[in-house]
Amino acid sequence: MVTHSQSARTEPAGPPGPTSSAGVSERARPGIAQRILGFTERGWRPIALLVVLFFAWWAVTAAELIEPYLVPSPGDTFDAIASRPDYFWEHTWATTYETLLGFVIAAAVGVFAAVVMVQSATVEKTLYPLLLFAQVIPKIAIAPLFVVWLGFGIGPKIVVAVLMAFFPVVISMVTGLKSVDPEMLQLSATMGAKPGQTFWKIRFPASLPHLFSGLKVAATMAVTGAVVGEFVGADAGLGFVILQANGNLDTPVLFAGLLIMSLLGVLLFVLVEWLEHLVLPWHASRRTEGVTTTL
């Protein structure tokens, strides 16, 4: 009933070639040089702010506006670290270890819980209140209980770190798994896809950008969790260092502990962000700069 014809092609209104207006948009993926340039362009403001704050700290203490036993000078703080490098190294490592372990467990548990929850509305409705309860209960209040249960070792620190870090992972992953375009799922149905195929080829990759934003929050929470765990009973870790320094009114050591702790949180955050760029180049390259990106 149909005869093949080229007539439609030769008309002015015919199909466009690759150079037509319907072609690729101008934007190309940036090269290494551009990315470094882009980083310094975006990165100078926070770095400048840090420098200003640091200078203010130095100026205030140098002018002796505040008693040194309340706020030590930057010099005294760094001296505190430099005079006992092994001590600081040991306790930083203890906290780092607890944080990383807590973070990894929280990520695994969070992703697993999210995948289970999106399977059915009943499961979700049953689990959500429980998760919410675990989230709102003050960790500092239940931490002593974990010490009673698990002793003074690494156990309670990891439990508190996991408890603090896994909620953002679950929430973001559930949101991600539900964010899939319903038409994409319908399309998948007409392709005869099995549930496993739809999950691994569509749902899971689509949820990853959401997951990573949850992981970034979780990274900072894990540090806090580990230190909270150390506060209620420990013989190692930065929380222990801070408590001890507090007892001795040794503010340089206390400040040193705080400084290292913050650095640890920032480092873990940046590490997750770097991982995100690695795993999701398609997402990172199209994301516009904003407050939630440091890289």
Binding site: M1, S5, A13, P18, L187, T190, W282
Partner: protein
């Protein structure tokens, strides 16, 4: 064996929502011959998308029967190709990989799928953009990728739900010309939903008109234009003017969305 590609018999679709029940379609009967190009026009919310979902088994009718290629539809059907208004591409896959998703899900032999994808990429003018990611492509190009994906497995029935609705007028015209040519080359049955009357008349052999509340078939017209349709010439044909006028009168002002 009925011999129809799509056969919708006395179908009604009701949606139950918390607030109220919506009758999306009522007393709808429609038959499409194999190889035919049928356009469905009507105002928003009259049940056009519902009709396509019925045909592919993504939705079950509340009453009546739906047959695809002579077989009763009782669940999602694999023997269709689907194109939506949104291209619905996976943004982490290149154009080619998006097209090949169809093959992966179906477990088609890789070699055959690749060859078919190359053929379609050429047919739709995507050559040179195979390795581009969706966000690097214009709306028209994205829709071409979606079309290739829908045609990869040589579906006997192609369902298109306002595929060009989000494109600018010029790109839309180009896509119309291309779709007509592709249909002639592939000889597949096409059900195209649109609210552009001009698009419906230029592309289709028959135009089904649907009115809203509840959605019913208000009429069907045959388009007596030649098989080979030059875009510019067709627009100035008396038959084109007659058909568009007829549809406009039938649907009333509500349908003139363009």
């Amino acid at each position: 064996m009925t011999g129809y590609a799509v056969e919708i018999e006395d179908v009604a679709v009701r949606f139950r929502t918390k607030k109220r029940d919506v009758t999306a379609l009522r007393d709808v009967t429609m038959r499409v011959d194999p190889g035919e190009f049928v356009a469905i026009v009507g105002p928003s919310g009259c049940g056009k998308s519902t009709l396509l979902k019925l045909s592919s088994g993504l939705l079950a009718p509340s009453s009546g029967s739906v047959k695809l290629l002579g077989e009763r539809v009782s669940g999602p059907r694999k023997d269709v190709g689907y194109v939506f208004q949104k291209a619905a591409l996976l943004e982490w896959r290149t154009a080619r990989k998006n097209i090949l998703l169809q093959a992966e899900m179906r477990g088609m032999p890789a070699k055959e799928a690749k060859a078919r994808a190359d053929e379609l990429i050429e047919m739709t003018g995507l050559t040179g953009f195979e390795d581009a990611y969706p966000h690097e492509l214009s709306g028209g190009m994205q829709q071409r990728v979606a079309l290739c994906r829908a045609l990869l497995h040589r579906p006997p029935v192609l369902l298109m739900d306002e595929p060009f609705g989000a494109l600018d007028a010029l790109t839309r015209e180009q896509m119309n010309v291309e779709l007509r040519r592709i249909w002639q080359e592939t000889k597949t049955t096409v059900l195209l939903v649109t609210h552009s009357i001009a698009e419906a008349v230029y592309l289709a052999d028959r135009v089904v008109m649907i009115t809203a509340r509840p959605g019913t078939v208000a009429g069907v017209i045959e388009v007596n234009l030649p098989v080979d349709r030059d875009y510019g010439k067709t627009m100035s044909e008396p038959e084109f003017a007659k058909a568009t006028r007829h549809i406009r009168d039938h649907l009333g002002a509500a349908a003139v969305a363009e």
